[in-house]
């Protein structure tokens, strides 16, 4: 069996007793080295899940395990060494006064010796393509550049799990693509699990599995291929399906027989090409 890195067991959560439940009996697990996307309408509880995962919030019911250890006030500092998180608003997570200081922040907190810090800062800034900005202040960076610095800050501590909570929402198309490529690159080189919270379906199709949230409940956990085959169910939850899935849907209606559910341009074109040759 594959190693489970994060497990949610019947987790329920609300922000205050007077408020309604935000998460309702949520269970799932994430394997080591896996890429998981979490999607869901606004307010469905995605960010809350992320915050529960590294103990920023504590559930009223249920249990959360990271690496087999339950997340409790006593274990959170150990757990946070293994989980890195990038939030949506690049401004509100930039702690340092310069790029280099910001990347250092997580390392300083964990007591890394200076020599090691300098090495890792250099290395990770190179990885995210920000080595030319080491001494820049945050207000002289664009949103995308700040996000890259935030990612470098997470990579520097070499966590086992990286959570990106709508980290590409404010970027231009290339900026998004570049961050995705960076993440792929990192994943090839290290053993990490990615948890990616997003509204962008193009980012979702690349995941190994997708968790669909709706009104505080998990409504589906499956590989993207299976998820996007269930068009109605997704649309009920305020979501959409990607371009390719829509096109496949229309082609099927016209009587075109596609063998498996294609997810990206390549897969769809390959199937169409085969049909074309057999015409």
């Amino acid at each position: 069996m594959e190693k489970r890195i994060v497990t949610f067991r019947n987790v329920s959560f609300r922000y205050r007793e007077s408020l309604p439940w935000v998460l309702n009996n949520v269970s799932f697990s994430i394997n080591a080295d896996e890429w998981v996307a979490i999607i869901g309408h606004n307010g469905s509880g995605k960010s809350t899940i992320a915050k529960l995962m590294n103990g920023l919030l504590t559930p009223q019911e249920g249990e959360i395990l990271v690496n087999g250890t339950p997340v409790t006030p006593e274990t959170i500092w150990e757990i946070r060494k293994n989980i890195g998180m990038v939030f949506q608003n690049p401004d509100n997570q930039f702690v340092g006064t310069t790029v280099q200081d910001d990347v250092a922040f997580g390392l300083e907190n964990r007591g890394f010796p200076r020599k090691e810090m300098v090495k890792r800062i250099k290395q990770t800034l190179l990885q995210v393509g920000m080595e030319a900005y080491t001494l820049h202040e945050p207000h002289r960076l664009s949103g995308g550049q700040k996000q890259r610095v935030a990612i470098a800050g997470v990579l520097a501590i070499a966590p086992q799990v990286i959570i990106l909570d709508e980290a590409t929402a404010m970027l231009d198309p290339r900026g998004r693509l570049e961050i995705m490529e960076t993440m792929h690159h990192v994943k090839e080189q290290h053993n990490v699990s990615f948890i990616m919270i997003t509204h962008d379906l193009k980012e979702v199709v690349r995941a190994d599995r997708v968790i669909v949230m709706s009104e505080g409940k998990v409504v589906e956990i499956a590989p993207p291929r299976d998820i996007f085959a269930k068009k109605e169910k997704l649309q009920q939850s305020g979501l959409d399906i990607p371009f390719v899935a829509k096109l496949v849907d229309e082609l099927t209606k016209l009587g075109t027989k596609l063998s498996k559910e294609p997810l990206n341009h390549d897969e769809l074109l390959e199937e169409l090409w085969t049909l074309y040759l057999k015409r």
Partner: protein, 290 residues
């Protein structure tokens, strides 16, 4: 109201060591009643451009003409308030501007400032409520108790209630889920069509630019990089990729089809349904495309 930019440059913090040229020698013409998308990489100057449209910024060089109002470096216009009543700007994350105790009060704030009569304000808030699809029961709620998507709608309604002739939108759907995104964009399209509202949309989504606009302006480092009909501009893959942008997904797909099948299906604004039948014909080897 026609909007004309004539060799406009803008420099932030001029004459300090932090001086920064945000737009440079920019000229374009937006005719009354158009739906224009402004696209560009982060920091390309989009937000700077739109702040000229209602006189929040004055050009450092050049001239901006909005109907009969003229903005230039040496001349301050007196009728700034009139201009702001005619050009409504929805900023990025407009929910950050909410402050009143109730939703209705916040929506009425703009019209009140422009001296609209109480009766008229009531009529306007009502129609603004409908336009953005907010349910009536939210009227007396505090805007801070709403969800992000609802707050966004309240903020947009606050601008619609001013009843501007030009509507300027700075990434109005950032952070919304796909359903909210679709609803808000179709609302803008409807307003544009029904009220002949000149609409200027700043967006990072090439798909939206293709779907909603009838004219696109592409910015790069504060200068105009390309301009024209979306179906002509947004197919120039290499040129777009050189400035941190990309072609919309449907066009990407059509390029791949051409590559593999050696047959060009031109983009003519077809819907996914149309495209499916074209593809269907293509793989069966019949139809005009062979």
């Amino acid at each position: 109201m026609d909007i004309i930019f004539e060799k406009v440059s803008y420099v932030y913090q001029k004459n300090t060591p932090f001086e920064h040229q945000a737009i440079q020698n920019l000229s374009f013409h937006i005719p009354s009643g158009a739906f224009v998308a402004i696209v560009g990489h982060t920091g390309s100057g989009k937000s700077t451009v739109i702040q000229h449209l209602n006189g929040l910024l004055r050009p450092t060089k050049g001239e901006v003409r909005i109907g009969e109002y003229i903005l230039s470096s040496d001349q301050k216009i007196k009728e700034l308030k009139q201009l702001r009543e005619k050009v409504g700007v929805v900023f990025q994350y407009p929910e950050h501007q909410l402050f009143e105790e109730t939703v209705v009060k916040d929506i009425a704030f703009g019209p009140q400032n422009f001296g609209v009569s109480q009766n008229e304000i009531e009529a306007r808030t009502k129609s603004a409520f409908e336009a953005v699809g907010l349910s009536e029961e939210l009227r007396e709620r505090s805007p801070f108790d709403l969800s992000g998507g609802q707050m966004r709608r309240v903020a947009i309604a606050g601008i619609l209630a001013i009843q501007p002739e030009v509507l300027v939108l700075d990434e109005p759907t950032a952070g919304l889920d796909p359903k909210g995104h679709r609803e808000i964009m179709s609302m803008f399209k409807r307003l544009h069509r029904e009220n002949e509202l000149t609409t200027i949309l700043v967006t990072h989504s090439m798909e939206d630019a293709l779907e909603y606009a009838d004219h696109v302006i592409i910015l790069d480092h504060g200068t105009k990089y390309m301009e024209g009909k979306p179906e002509e501009v947004l197919i120039q893959k290499d040129k777009l990729q050189a400035v941190q942008l990309d072609v919309p997904e449907i066009i990407q797909f059509l390029f791949r089809v051409e590559n593999i099948f050696g047959v060009k299906i031109p983009y003519q604004g077809q819907s996914i349904v149309d495209l499916a039948s074209e593809l269907n014909r293509l793989i069966r080897g019949d139809g005009s495309s062979e």
